[in-house]
Amino acid sequence: MPKKLQAVASLLMVFSFVLSACAPAATTVPPTEAPVVESPTEAPVAAPTDAPAVEPTVAPTEAPVAEPGGSLPRNETLYYNGQQWGAVACWNPYSSSCNNGLAIAQGDSARVTMFETPYLYNMLDGKQYPLLADGPYTWNDARTEITFKIKPAAKWSDGTPVTAEDVAYTWASHLKYETNTAAANKDYVDTIEAVDAQTVVIKAKLDEDGNAINPLLVAAYLSGNYVMQKAWTETLEERAGGDAAKFREDVAEDVVYSGPYHMFFSDETKVVLVRNDEYWGQDASMWGKLPAPKYLAHAIYKDNAAGFTALKAGEVDVSQQFNANIQDLWLKDGLPISTYLPEAPYGIGASLPTAFFNLSSPGLDNAAIRKAIAIAVDYDTIIANAMTNQSATFNQVPRSVMNPTAGEQEMYDQAAVADLQWAGKDIEGAKALLDEAGVVDTDGDGWREVDGKNLSYVATCPNGWSDWQAAIEVVAAAGKEIGIEITTNYPEWSVYQTVVTVWPLPEADYDIFMMWSGGAGPTQPWGRVRGLIGGEFAQTTGNWNGNWGGYINPEVDAIIKAIPAETDAAKLKEMYTELTRIYLTEVPSFTLMYRPQVFHAVNESVWTNFPHQDDGTNPPVPPMLLTDGWGIAGLYNLTLVEP
């Protein structure tokens, strides 16, 4: 290269680095039970073109019917980001690896765009509302059986009615073909039977005393899992020829569904669902009308930055990704973008990203050391810097095992544990705690010792999960203040997930590590406590459920076992308060921030009337992307800004 050009070339090179960067920035934490279904950090499989493949500004007034793969009429299409990374693999809800962000996500608030559940969970009021089901379900007196009816209006896309037999057959197929759904529920759900065409009875698994092992999880099944058509399942079985793996891996493009949308187009640049104008839900017994957008579309973005740019440009209506300093979009840029709450924390906190202590690391078996580290951490900085204030602070919502929703906060006695709740940055308190426990620096090198060895830990989280990384940096900084050396380390997620889910944890590099906790769901807060301190998951391998640090306490386990069968609110409150007390005393892990179930920001350039705080809906529509659980009700309220 001619030397004169080199100076120019080096400049160009620097700029090209900026442009060529490619690590996804933020993270979504999948809800409790299921192993990672969707995670933006899994690098996009296919490399899409640089520009998002959407046709943003063109809004033909009299739109002809769009061709699959062609351009979509803007004022009939609701665009998403942050849900779909890489191409869709299949349309088969029996599979757990469809990578189908718009259509398939079973869980606490199941995604009901294409497939439907009997009930819809509403994270704002904690209730389950009937969808395919007709009216509320009932328990028998012994709380061992649930009975509910199917709506007479409910129809499959082929026009046949949804029957109780479909519900029963779906469960039988899950069991027969050993799906993840079966694995998660078969210890609690015994059988699902069709009494007649409309009536379904779910029998819970019973313990030796004849009580249901876990009535909470049985009830949660109703809003967390899809109902599939029996006839189509039989077609699938025939195709699979009895091979369980084939059954689960089928692409299922011929799938029969009951929801308002179905597949329109999908490749490695975008996924589009189109409305089924024959959808049964327009019957007066359900919604009474069709959802507003004709198309739901999701361009597949390279990373968060690309998705963010599209949101800014109005090419995305509903954004499910962590956008740092989102308030600048309206404060500085004056864009018609808003979040569920107008002010920080902008969303409803639902889950508790938590740092777990590896209790087998030297010194971390000592509760005083654990607590000292936890109370020294500057949580306000984590929330302000790592989360850019998109989390309530621990002064606003004191720490416990509850998420910040009002419903859960009422479930424990805050006053009883107030003296145990710390807000952080208590350096003096932490030092005193360590001194008192005899953990002191005897050789004067600045680091405290246990058994003559300096306390030195590695704090870790997956690489590229920027908000977690920034939080871990703050944890490490706290260690220095109290004489405990904490360094950081960020392995790739592909490595990380194989390490923290296996017991025993490695001796080095994973002393303090971040994982998540349960979000909002019908089994919460019970499911979350179980995941934080329940002995059930402690020291197990293939553990995707919680308690990764290996904390075991029989007292805790007894309470966790008793809660699902307990119906007396006062007793429940007592139990949860006791669990909180133990959790805050023993500190087997510590929560670093609150995090919404899903990030939910909307751009009102085309559509408006999205759910927001005090929007007058009753029951309130939760900020669940207008696709999940009761959140789908929001799709029926949307209107165009310029009709």
């Binding site: 080199q6 090179m13 700029f15 600048d328 808003s338 302000a384 810097n385 690489n463 380390n489 392995p491």
Partner: protein
């Protein structure tokens, strides 16, 4: 030697490059003597504070107050909280609320605000209004509340026993403090980064680390390249073939790809700044080796070399005294380029997330990486990445300039 130096410093290009480089170097050496804060200390609670002078509000309340009657004060105050767009937005609301358009004068602040106060209702639903717009009006309402008040603000303190607020003083609108007299003032010339760290302090520390990485990488690369080139060129034969075989192998593999692969396989735990520098050094010696070999081959059969051989000097002696001095100027130039490409390589690696560990030291590449992760580039936080870019550019630019200058002095083909 003196003569050579004099010649070098007569080259305008070299002097410019040298001056820039020395300025940067001195900056990294002197700045830490003045600002002694640790570069990775988190001082800001929040991300990307813009550049400016930060004055403690609390301390300024206790400072000596001066009364300044500035004619512009009221106007400025109103303008900062009620922009032209805000006035037009207020008019839109008032029209929607049923006030005749003729009655609204956006220039008459007093009247406009009175009308606003009388008519604004956050709960009122206006057809076609988006939630974002509604939020805007609520914010606006809060922001202009009491805008025209001529009263000062009251300072109050909670009574320790009853909890009731007791007035302890007032702040008049014409009260000023002298920034010099406020106990806590922090000048952040480049604001803060996403962690809330002082950007300038971090940048200086990062430049230093990046320079060290560049030097280490450059010296390693040059040493390897020089040694192999000298051996291959002078000894020739099978040694030459062997060395050139390896060199050619490395030539066809793009070194940056190699760098990425090695960095990735080392794993983050082991990736300190020094390790990264060594890895860069070990992947970028190829061209130096080839060029040195070519030069040595042309020197190998010169008379003075043959004379040395006849005198019975050892190979090492001949290489060091009869060959090396003749290619020294080239080696120095190669070293300078290696240093500058080492700095670029570190930046490139860090931006891909393969750079040194974050917490230990700041480097220019890591700063860019974090700025990008927190979307500083697309959210217009120029202070979080532009100064870093400029620094990288200036460092490499100055080195290339020095290199070109040297080239003009030493390369007979280019000599004037």
């Amino acid at each position: 030697m003196n003569n050579t130096l004099r010649q070098i410093f007569r080259s305008g290009k070299f002097v410019t490059g040298f001056a820039i480089f020395v300025a940067i170097l001195l900056g990294t050496l002197i700045y830490p003597l003045i600002i002694t804060d640790a570069p990775l200390t988190i001082i800001g609670q929040g991300t990307f504070f813009p550049p400016g002078i930060y004055v403690s509000v609390y301390d300024s309340l206790g400072s000596t107050r001066y009364t300044l009657d500035l004619g512009e004060a009221n106007f400025n105050r109103i303008a900062s909280r009620l922009s032209e767009e805000d006035r037009i937005a207020i008019k839109e609301w008032l029209v929607a609320a049923g006030i005749p358009e003729a009655d609204i004068d956006t220039a008459d602040t007093q009247k406009l605000l009175t009308q606003w106060e009388e008519n604004f209702d956050a709960k009122k639903s206006i057809p076609g209004m988006t939630n974002a717009k509604r939020n805007y009006y609520v914010r606006l309402d809060k922001s202009i509340d009491g805008l025209l008040s001529a009263e000062g603000a009251i300072l109050a303190q909670a009574n320790a026993e009853t909890g009731a607020l007791e007035q302890t003083g007032t702040v008049e609108q014409s009260d000023f403090v002298n920034v010099q007299q406020v106990a806590n003032v922090r000048f952040l010339p480049l604001g803060t980064d996403n962690f809330g760290r002082d950007m300038l302090t971090e940048l200086v520390a990062a430049t230093r680390v990046s320079l060290i990485i560049g030097f280490v990488a450059g010296i390693i690369a040059t040493l390897i390249g020089l040694t192999l080139g000298l051996l291959a060129g002078y000894i020739g034969g099978p040694v030459d073939d062997g060395i050139m075989f390896i060199t050619n192998l490395f030539t066809v593999i793009p070194s940056f790809v190699l760098l990425i692969l090695i960095s990735f396989s080392i794993g983050q735990e082991q990736r300190g700044a020094f390790t990264v520098a060594v890895v860069i050094g070990f992947t970028s010696w190829v061209w130096t080796a080839r060029a040195v070999r070519a030069q040595v081959i042309s020197l190998r059969n010169r008379d003075h070399v043959n004379l040395s051989k006849l005198s019975g000097h050892s190979t090492v002696h001949i290489i060091l005294t009869d060959i090396l001095p003749y290619i020294a100027s080239y080696v120095v130039m190669a070293l300078i380029l290696q240093i500058s490409s080492g700095i670029l390589a570190e930046a490139g690696l860090s931006i891909l997330g393969l750079g040194p560990k974050t917490t230990d030291v700041p480097t220019l590449g890591l700063m860019m990486n974090w700025a990008r992760i927190y979307q500083a580039d697309i959210q217009g936080r120029w202070w979080a990445y532009l100064p870093v870019l400029v620094t990288i550019a200036m460092v490499t630019f100055s080195m290339n300039l020095m290199n070109t200058g040297l080239d003009q002095v030493f390369n007979p083909a280019l000599r004037d």
